[in-house]
Amino acid sequence: MAPTTNARVSIEGVSVSFPLYHGSARSLKKLVFAAASGRLGQDRQKRVVVEALRNVSFSLRGGDRLGLIGTNGAGKTTLLRTLAGIYEPVTGRVRVEGSLNALLDPSLGMNLDLTGRENIMLRGLYNGMPRASLGQLEEDVTAFAGLSDFIDLPVRIYSSGMIVRLGFALATAIRPQILLMDEWILAGDAQFIDRAKLRLETMVRGADILVLSTHEASIIRTWCSRVLWLDEGRIRADGPPDAVLEQYLGHPLEPVTEATATEHL
């Protein structure tokens, strides 16, 4: 089990809504003319807003593994972005204590025109690593992705397998206390996948708090101790994985066996 430390996440009555800016709402000219003709107030009211999260509250302590389920557009990714501090809440409060890494876009900052080495350095810097420890990161990622001869060539000329390996190695190189994952990232060829699985599991086990959004019931059952079911931005159910999953899927779950648990990995 993960070490329990002082990592904490608490969310109180959080709502996040997106103003939909499209067409004329993007234009300053139109806004100025609307204001000049006294229609601004009306325009404001008419602004289309998507409520991505509505009054969501929960808290997590060290050792908690939270799974997020829900249909597309239920607010899973928005919730992860809110936890990561990317979207600031419109109402409510978000409090996160502990180092946090959000794997929302596994190819974060990966630039195909840059060399492998430059991409590794950039990722380290994005994570606020001091220059002194960039060498260690480079060694780790290069060795894991098996890029030895290609490290100084632009990523553009890599084979697709190499790009996947580099992306995965980079995404899993930084070990946070609080890990947010949008989908269980696992990719690569048969030869690579066992090593990838081991590395990902090490990272997940090492995190004090895991928040994982996925569509795969088996992954939730393997990794999570608690499940939130989001529906149209609201919490529809919150509880132990099996109970919530049965409610969500609408049928009883088969008993977990080693085979079903690893089938999707």
């Binding site: 690593m129 780790d140 946070p176």
Partner: protein, 284 residues
């Protein structure tokens, strides 16, 4: 067992509430700028890679910038010194300084509009101080400026011009420029993320400003109306850097004007940034 994965991730205490007071907004904006400044190695690397990528694979690399500026200064210098009946020895050093500084200014203004939109992927996948992207744009443009400085040095060497100790007066002016550039990037970057029609407007304003500001013409050509020039913010800011390098001392009016316009710009940028910072991610 795995060979050492890096056990580093930024330490964080994140506490965000809605309906923040003005003081809380200001505190968060201060924190953004502080932590953004500590990430300067990232901003530097991003800015440097931008320049490198733009010219990767070309024979001269970033020195294409130097070459094209050199050709522009050379041809404009000969043309306008003939049109204005001016001595090339006097006009060309002036023009080389003006063109290089103005190119920096107009590229900076235009690129600051994209400061946040060009980084949308990063902004939406990791919490990152917005100030980092402002520093990146300024560094990228300072690096381009550094390449263009070669043109000035060559022109000054050819015409054997030595500005003397007065040149040191342009150092405080340069500091003011960097401050203004950062403020402008925060302001325009955020504003353009919200309103996508700002950038074309900004570009046309800069086009007009180019002709209204003594860049290719000299201030004294205005005759008695030269007194009106300090009203043009671009003139004040340009003059406090340019005049000392040509061996002159800018007038107090010019310095006052530059300080006043900078104050207004930084104030506006701060007010806007403190208010809009939390919304920028939603606009991208």
């Amino acid at each position: 067992m795995m060979t050492g994965t890096t056990p580093a991730a930024r330490d964080a205490l994140l506490d965000l509430r809605a309906d923040m007071s003005l003081a809380a907004r200001n505190r968060l904006a201060v924190r953004d700028i502080k932590s953004g400044s500590t990430l300067w190695p990232l901003a530097w690397t991003l800015g440097w890679l931008d320049i490198k990528l733009r010219y990767r694979g070309s024979m001269l690399g970033p020195f294409w910038l130097t070459l094209s500026t050199g050709i522009m200064v050379g041809s404009l210098g000969v043309l306008y010194s003939t049109l204005f009946h001016m001595n090339v020895h006097e006009y060309l050093p002036f023009l080389s300084l003006s063109i290089v500084l103005w190119n920096f200014l107009s590229a900076l203004v235009s690129e600051s509009c994209m400061a946040f939109t060009e980084a949308d992927k990063v902004i939406r996948s990791v919490r990152m101080p917005f100030f980092v992207f402002a520093i990146r744009v300024v560094i990228r443009n300072l690096l381009a400026l550094a390449h263009n400085l070669v043109v000035i040095v060559v022109v000054f060497a050819v015409f054997l011009i030595w500005p003397g100790w007065h040149a040191l007066l342009s150092l405080p002016a340069a500091v003011l420029w960097v401050m203004d550039a950062l403020a402008l990037t925060l302001l325009l970057g955020g504003f353009c993320a919200r309103f996508r029609d700002i950038q074309p407007i900004v570009n046309s304003v800069m086009q007009i400003a180019f002709f209204l500001t003594p860049v290719i013409w000299k201030p004294e050509q205005l005759g008695p109306r030269v007194d009106l020039l300090p009203l043009n913010p671009f003139f004040d800011l340009l003059e406090i850097v340019r005049a000392p390098l040509l061996g002159d001392v800018p007038s107090t009016m010019t310095w006052l004007g530059a300080a006043l316009y900078s104050f207004v710009l930084c104030g506006a940028a701060w007010g806007f940034f403190a208010r809009a910072r939390g919304r920028i991610a939603f606009w991208l």
